[in-house]
């Protein structure tokens, strides 16, 4: 499997993170998006006319949507990550896309000088983070560790994590969102976890 990848972009990170958790090997093709605009070259646009990253190529399958790429990896490697019997999977993947358009956008504006309205992005992100915090807190009360009911994390956890964990780079805060900080720890301690700039990996030699 080939992943056209930009290290700092959260949707690319989500695919690398899921591959890590699944133990799947990706052949990474890194592209310099900021400031290189390598996603706007004719060669890349021939692959993905939208110019977005990541792009996943698995044999005859070419996937240009990051959530679809997560679904593809889960469906071909371990369906426990794709709890299709829960309607909430759709809701949480939508939440992840909304977090990308708000918390994710604020991070790109603040750290990479991407265009956009940072204040509006943060206002929307704060409302969403409050709501995820509320649901996570009530989930914990009934023993749920993950966004979707059941003992196993799903692609929705990772899809939301990649925007929530580094959100402080976008001028947001997890300080008064303790349930989100605990959930971030649970994701960080998943076997196969990989990190990205702005996301701290678990430290080595913890004896876990």
């Amino acid at each position: 499997m080939i992943l056209y990848d930009a290290h700092h972009l959260a949707p690319c990170y989500a695919v690398r993170l899921l591959a890590g958790c699944l133990g799947a090997t990706l052949d990474l093709k890194p592209l310099d998006v900021y400031p290189g605009h390598a996603n706007q070259t004719e060669a890349f646009l021939a692959l993905n006319p939208l110019g977005t990253l990541p792009v996943l190529v698995d044999g005859p399958c070419l996937i240009t949507d990051w959530l679809e790429a997560l679904a593809h990896l889960a469906l071909t490697h371990d369906r426990a990550w794709f709890p299709a019997e829960h309607a909430a999977l759709i809701g949480w993947l939508g939440m992840a896309r909304d977090l990308g358009a708000s918390a994710g956008a604020a991070r790109l504006i603040d750290t990479f000088g991407a265009p956009g309205d940072a204040a509006a992005a943060r206002a929307q992100a704060n409302a969403l983070l409050d709501e995820v915090e509320r649901r996570m807190w009530f989930g914990e009360r009934i023993g749920q560790d993950w966004l979707i009911e059941g003992p196993h994390p799903s692609i929705a956890d990772l899809a939301c994590f990649v925007f929530i964990a580094p959100c402080e780079d976008g001028g947001l805060s997890l300080r008064d969102r303790p349930a989100l900080r605990r959930w971030c720890d649970r994701v960080r301690f998943l076997p196969g976890f990989v990190s990205m700039s702005g996301v701290f990996p678990p430290m080595a030699n913890t004896g876990r």
């Binding site: 509320r134 807190w137 009530f138 914990e140 009360r141 997890l174 300080r175 008064d176 303790p178 900080r181 605990r182 720890d185 701290f200 678990p202 430290m203 913890t206 004896g207």
Partner: protein, 195 residues
């Protein structure tokens, strides 16, 4: 003043905020705090600042009965004393290297701290510990609103974050956490919209 009075216990966390192997982060009267639980169940509240280079302890990790700083992996024991410096493994760590330790008390399912707090934390009635709600208003304004319009069935205490924001914590006497959450979120909307 940041709304923080010496001699007073403030609730800064719920006990359920401190599972093992987790570093909790909060602020009290402008002081950034980190709290964690050792294997004996004890809770430790420190200034959220590593004495080495000032990196936040809350970015670090609990390893057994020690907290390990994320940056250079110095370790600190329950007393706050630095126990190990990886770059100098043979060094007997000088006693002066110490986290700034805050007082701690546990009661009513809450974790309490403060500046030279006197006596025991305030007694709260039995019930279920609420989800803490931050409100972007000073503690005095929140306190005033709660006196004017008390929220029925809730025993509440305030944690001043800084001069502009406050966390409301407390107990639902009837254990109805959902109802309590609605009431506190409504309070938050009311106060923040009025501001």
């Amino acid at each position: 003043m940041n709304g923080l009075q010496a001699g007073v216990w403030y609730a800064i966390a719920a006990e359920h905020d401190l599972p093992k192997d987790h570093v909790y982060r909060t602020m009290l009267g402008g002081h950034e705090l980190a709290a964690w639980r050792s294997t004996d169940g004890g809770v430790h509240v420190w200034e959220d600042r590593c004495p080495h280079r000032g990196v936040r302890f809350s970015l670090g990790e609990v390893v057994g009965d020690e907290l390990r700083c994320q940056y250079h992996a110095w370790r600190f024991g329950k007393t706050g004393a630095c126990t190990f410096i990886p770059a100098q493994p043979d060094l007997k760590v000088p006693r002066t290297i110490h986290a700034a330790v805050w007082p701690v008390a546990l009661s009513a399912g809450l974790v309490w701290s403060g500046i030279e707090p006197i006596g025991a934390p305030p007694a709260l009635p039995p019930g279920a510990v609420l989800r803490a709600i931050p409100i972007a208003r000073p503690a005095a304004s929140v306190a005033h609103a709660l006196v004017k319009e008390p929220l029925a069935g809730l025993a509440l205490v305030l944690q001043p974050l800084d001069e502009t924001a406050t966390i409301v914590r407390g107990i639902a006497l009837d254990d109805d956490l959902v109802r309590a959450d609605h009431a506190l979120l409504a309070l938050r909307r009311r106060l923040e919209q009025a501001a």
